[in-house]
């Protein structure tokens, strides 16, 4: 079903587009003294072995509206110019014809630079009409191109490390703030050791069980604390009894026994006295 004559009137413009829209090029051939323009742009197109390379092809016939059967040949060449894939198809073009050609890159294709070359052959053709574009073949890791995987993986890792460091820093400061021993230098001298003992016990238990430790301490008879910090504000009954009740409260409510440590500074002061 070939239409004649074309040697004088057929003028084709081929436009190829990668489906992503990153790339376009065009060649034109005229019969009256063939001129071929080839607008090629450097591409950052990548495809993995075994995947589809979609090529958008647009054929425009400026030859007067007559239908033309055009043989479109697709070749993929490696960096040394060897054809590793070829296929062709016949396309009828009256004015324009657009379609997407899916080219499957052979699964065993080695990583590297390749080019896709599209050629038109039709009756009455004066000069070959070809166009080509470059692309890269690169394997994927977990569905991501290897270079991207390393790039984004590295960035993600760095970001993660920064977040962990930041979080650790913030949490550490918060923790230090919450669990740093409180100063009782203004407490009644004869009760200071009890204030410290109770305060350290509450903070120690708070580290283990959280704010439950504060709630339990709030309900100990004779013990007045700051509800937010656990600071001992006042002891209204025998301090030793308050300590014993606090220990018993923790043991009963939380099932945890209480160990104590005494602050060295107090001990040294008392020894000096």
């Amino acid at each position: 079903m070939t239409t004649f004559p074309f040697h004088r009137v057929a003028v084709f413009i081929i436009s190829l587009f990668i489906a992503t829209g990153w790339y376009s090029l065009a060649i034109a051939q005229t019969t009256g003294g063939p001129t071929v323009t080839n607008a090629t742009t450097t591409l950052a197109i990548k495809v993995a072995p075994g995947e589809i390379l979609p090529v958008s092809v647009k054929l425009s016939n400026f030859g007067g509206g007559s239908r033309v059967d055009v043989l479109v040949q697709y070749d993929i060449l490696n960096s040394s110019g060897t054809v590793i894939y070829t296929s062709n198809e016949t396309v009828a073009v009256e004015t324009t014809n657009s379609f997407i050609k899916s080219i499957q890159i052979p699964s065993g294709t080695k990583e590297g630079d390749y080019s896709e070359k599209t050629s038109l052959i039709y009756q009455g053709q004066l000069t070959p009409a070809t166009t080509q574009f470059s692309f890269k073949v690169e394997p994927k890791i977990l569905g991501v191109f290897r270079s991207d995987f390393y790039l984004y993986g590295g960035l993600t890792l760095i970001g993660g490390i920064l977040l962990v460091l930041l979080g650790h820093n913030l949490f550490g400061r918060r923790k230090i703030g919450r669990f740093a021993p409180l100063d009782y230098s203004n407490a009644p001298p004869d009760q200071r050791v009890f204030y410290e003992l109770i305060s350290d016990t509450i903070l120690g238990m708070r580290q283990k069980v959280g704010d439950k430790a504060l709630i339990i301490a709030e309900h100990i008879d004779g013990l007045v604390i700051d509800k937010h910090t656990g600071r001992v504000l006042q002891l209204t009954i025998s301090p030793a009894k308050v300590v014993a009740e606090l220990v018993a409260g923790y043991e009963k409510s939380l099932g945890k026994k209480v160990s104590f440590s005494f602050r060295n500074s107090i001990k040294e002061n008392e020894i000096k006295e």
């Binding site: 050791v193 009890f194 003992l197 025998s238 030793a240 009894k241 300590v243 014993a244 009740e245 220990v247 018993a248 043991e251 026994k257 209480v258 160990s259 104590f260 440590s261 005494f262 001990k267 008392e270 020894i271």
Partner: protein
Amino acid sequence: MEQTVALKKKKILIVEDEAAVKNILRDTLEKSNFSVIEAGNGQTGVALALSDHPDLILLDILMPVMNGMAALKKIRQDPWGKRIPVIILTNISATDEQLVKGMVEERPEYYLIKSDWKMQDIIKKIKKILNIDKIN
């Protein structure tokens, strides 16, 4: 002279009536380069403490003949004993007012519930008290 003092093994007195616990404490302390002396009750513990002048005492509370708090009170009455660091190792919770009073008066370095502490943590505390972290 200072080097000789620094390298001398620190002496720990274990006052504990349970043989199994005492053995574990002794073995671990000796492996950590401490010299160990032992007593099976508070009375013997006081006598050993005042005669041998250990660098630190590990003291149980519930013991025959003389309990740990009474032993500690006697040790503190001695001029040497006022400064000796003591770690109470017990399974008795301080839920008794008199026990708390005694603890505050006689002031051990630590009052530790045995079941809550690993031996290595106790060793760390001993080293910290005796300021020998850097030596060993």
